[in-house]
Symmetry: C2
């Protein structure tokens, strides 16, 4: 069902998007600022359900590519993602009737809202990751047969490039990544253009409305002096993400973090409040694997989130700090992200992990050493 987003919704939306961003996806405060400015001019933004798309619709997803941390010092001029979408329209000779996120995250859930506000087109309530991932080929769109190419990328000077690697979405990622580095670390992209039927077949549906519900659930629980994480656990079984569970509570005792080829890689160690073994969480932009002692407890593409112990506010990998008191909260990924084709694209092996994927709700019972 279509609904409108107003400034009053933004706080909840970016909080929920940051939760789904599973440590990555950028600073939700920046996403908030971007869309708030666009909404001041536009009033509202319309979000439509994938089921409301006709087969004649042409949806062009839009996103930021690169290091979201660059944005802290350099907010977009305003037209960059629109420039990318326009460049793709001119190149393909087709006009976008809607835009859509490629992933859920503090910034990339908001870029399409920003585009929609400027162009007066709707945003589709869906995306291609149902969470955040670091690379452009890691899309359910790609898993289920939509090519990312042609991709358009724009910088803050209105300069653009088109990448067309046909069905090779990994090469599209590589070439576009090289361009973002030349652009100073960040570019704005339009890619995976597709019709309404392809959206319904390949996208994770209703992730914008889910982000809004998740963010609202955390806030309202706090307002009613309830435990936000308990409220989340009650909500999730009503969604495609059918289970959410706290796997560890404790205090962050160490964070290793390095930036390699534009990615933030590292590991956080969390000590429990008792004498249980420590929990470690490895990340590459996003949280990839959570272990307790030497037992693997959650594996990508299941969602690992780290939440402030009391407030339930999601903490991104870039803002993890020694001494934070946190809960590690795992969420089942939707079933269409656990198929063999999906796991080949963004399962543990795609990140260099040696474990085979096991759904966390089974790991939680048995553990894997």
């Amino acid at each position: 069902m279509a609904f409108d987003i107003t400034i009053a919704d933004l706080g909840d939306l970016v909080r929920g998007a940051a939760l789904l961003g599973t440590g990555g996806g950028g600073d939700p405060a920046i996403g908030h600022t971007l869309v708030a400015e666009a909404l001041r001019d536009a009033g509202t933004i319309t979000v439509i359900d994938p089921d409301e798309l006709s087969d004649d619709d042409f949806v062009i997803p839009t996103a930021l590519m690169g290091a979201p941390s660059v944005l802290v010092e350099r907010l977009p001029r305003g037209s960059e993602p629109v420039d990318a979408l326009r460049a793709l329209e001119r190149h393909t000779g087709r006009t976008a009737t809607a835009t859509m996120p490629i992933e859920s995250g503090g910034i990339n859930s908001t870029i399409p809202l920003f585009v929609a506000a400027q162009l007066g087109i709707p945003v589709v309530d869906a995306d291609g990751m149902g969470r955040a991932f670091p690379e452009l080929q890691m899309e359910t769109f790609a898993v289920y047969g939509v090519n990312g190419s042609p991709l358009a990328i724009a910088d803050e000077h209105g300069h653009t490039a088109i990448v067309n690697t046909v069905a090779n979405n990994k090469k599209m990622e590589d070439w576009a990544r090289a361009l973002t580095i030349k652009m100073g670390g960040v570019g704005y992209i339009a890619e995976y253009g597709m019709d309404g039927a392809e959206v319904r077949r390949t996208a994770i549906p209703r992730t914008l409305s889910l982000a809004l519900r998740l963010g609202r659930t955390i806030r309202e629980a706090r307002e009613h002096h309830r435990d936000p994480v308990e409220a989340l656990s009650e909500l999730l079984p009503e969604t495609l993400y059918h289970r959410g569970e706290v796997i560890f509570s404790g205090k962050i005792v160490d964070v290793e973090r390095t930036t390699v080829e534009g990615f933030t890689r590292g590991k956080a160690r969390i000590a429990g409040f008792g004498d249980e073994p420590e929990c470690t969480v490895d990340f590459q932009n996003e949280y990839l694997v959570a272990r307790i002692g030497d037992e693997t407890r959650v594996l990508v593409p299941d969602l690992i989130t780290i939440l402030h112990l009391e407030t339930g506010e999601p903490i991104t990998a870039e803002t993890l700090r020694y001494g934070q008191r946190v809960r590690v909260f795992a969420i089942s990924t939707p079933e269409m992200m656990r198929t063999p084709a999906a796991l080949e694209t963004f399962g543990p092996a795609a990140f260099g992990l040696t474990e085979d994927f096991v759904p966390f709700e089974r790991l939680a019972r048995t553990g894997v050493r």
Copy 2:
């Protein structure tokens, strides 16, 4: 005047092109191989004079970008530069009526011949450097107001990208360079698309026929037991390159060479046969500055060539070796490459040299310390 190139012409053509390549532009033997194969199928290639172009003609120059040394192990599949030209045609909606070199050099004088043979279109007898330079913004096309963008680049898998940095030709170079690195060191490009009037206004005319004459002059002098370099000196005053002169003869006693960001940089030292001071030649792909003792004698964009002492065969910077007996032969660059706008784009300062440009025919008399 239009003329046809046949296999019998190729040896002379690539020898002359390597001379104009001024140390860069790649191995002429590879250029020879490429075009010989294309000519076996096509029979002849037609070269037309810039004055024969109508204003309705649309000329798309084609070239190799990257490290020509990669080609030694990986000859093009055949369709790469054609793929680039076709991608630019599709993107612009305009069809090329001819192609043209962007520079003179052992390989880039031949890529357009290769394209022309496959497509049955003519090659324009002109180029945008009148020699070789290492970067794409260093074109008389750019100096005199033609944009390089949109540029198309293709790899050996038929994958392509379009770069559109509007009037910023240096940024076009940077982005395309980043893509060639992702392509394994070499890409094939189509850029600086322009009409017939723009070719006549901005290109260095008749450099393909000049390469053919220069190469033939060297060969015929050898066959007639004349000094090839003397024969070149007699020919050049009939051309836009109005003067050629040996500035040093000797033996190579040292070559420093490093590869930095895809460029071959270095310095050659040449000891004279008497007790005169040594000659040094600095290069970045191409020879940039020749000094005798501490006197600067030739500066980019004037052409510095290093020729085998007896045969007059041009030696590229990549094939300079200790012990070679050589002559350093300087050639005046055409006047349209010595204007203030031209010198800003590819004069000494563009290569980090501190000397102001002085035409070599004046330096030869006075020297600069």
